[in-house]
Point group: C2
Chain length 171, copies 2
């Protein structure tokens, strides 16, 4: 039988969709801030709890998870993006450049990546995965976790968003 | 070439892992509540914002997303679970019975489900997906969204959890 699904299907378009949904959510937050004359930098600094990352960092980590996955699965250099965003518009620009990179990755480039070894080095540890486990155990849960924290921060701050903004257009 | 990944790989074990992680997080919340002599029903009723679902409902929806996916992809009847949980222990029992069902589903049962039509009927609408789009556009983001809301509610209430609890054991 032929391969009817590939690791590409469960990763690259899923991340692209999530990035686009996160950007649309931030756009609603920008309108909300503008209507109430709130500095959009205030929204970028929102935290759920004092020792949790602020909204800006949640967006950055979601973006880094997505570009890391696209680069590693396709065996491409991962573009470096400085963490210098301070407004919601900056964060949407960060998402846009991440999305530009993610969208360059093709199904052919990641073919067979499920069997390849993916290594992620940290100062004190190295994570070693098959490409499959990298996507299922780390990339997807981590990406959606940070996108969800962005949603939670804005939703509890009164921005008019609902789960259909998080999921995007279903049909 | 042979099929090296299947829709099973990106759905059933991913949901099972997420359910187990969510249960472990609730267990930490139970210990936290017990140590502080807080009624665990208080934790089940936590909300991020007045018009958002409480923690109990976030767990129920995550569970329903998981059992719905397992049942629909395998073309099995989806077990009905009453939404009667009021404590963290009740919610862990709900997760346990969901996990029991999800784990019964085999790769052979969902083979080819990526091409099948999945319909979800609501009072005012019907969603119609391929099995692939059902998993990528709805099941995974929705499951992780609700698991993340559970995390956010407990983390912001001072329960000592970190992202490693959300992701589970990576290596």
């Amino acid at each position: 039988m032929t391969t009817v699904v590939s690791i590409y299907d469960f990763c690259i378009p899923v991340l692209a969709r999530g990035l686009a949904n996160m950007s649309a959510i931030l756009e609603k937050a920008e309108s909300h801030a503008a209507a109430r004359k709130v500095d959009p930098a205030v929204f970028a600094q929102l935290r759920l709890f004092p020792d949790m990352h602020p909204l800006s960092r949640q967006v950055q980590i979601a973006c880094d998870t997505a570009k890391g996955a696209a680069g590693r699965l396709a065996a491409l250099d991962i573009p470096k993006h400085e963490d210098a965003e301070s407004t919601l518009a900056d964060l949407r620009a960060r998402i846009a450049k991440t999305l530009d990179f993610v969208k360059t990755v093709t199904a052919a480039q990641v073919e067979g990546a499920e069997r390849r070894t993916i290594e992620i080095k940290f100062p004190n540890a190295t994570w070693k995965f098959t490409g499959l486990a990298y996507v299922t155990d780390f990339v997807l849960p981590n990406f959606f976790f940070h996108e969800s924290m962005v949603y939670a921060l804005l939703r509890k701050s009164g921005v008019a968003i609902g789960k259909s903004d998080f999921l995007g257009n279903i049909q």
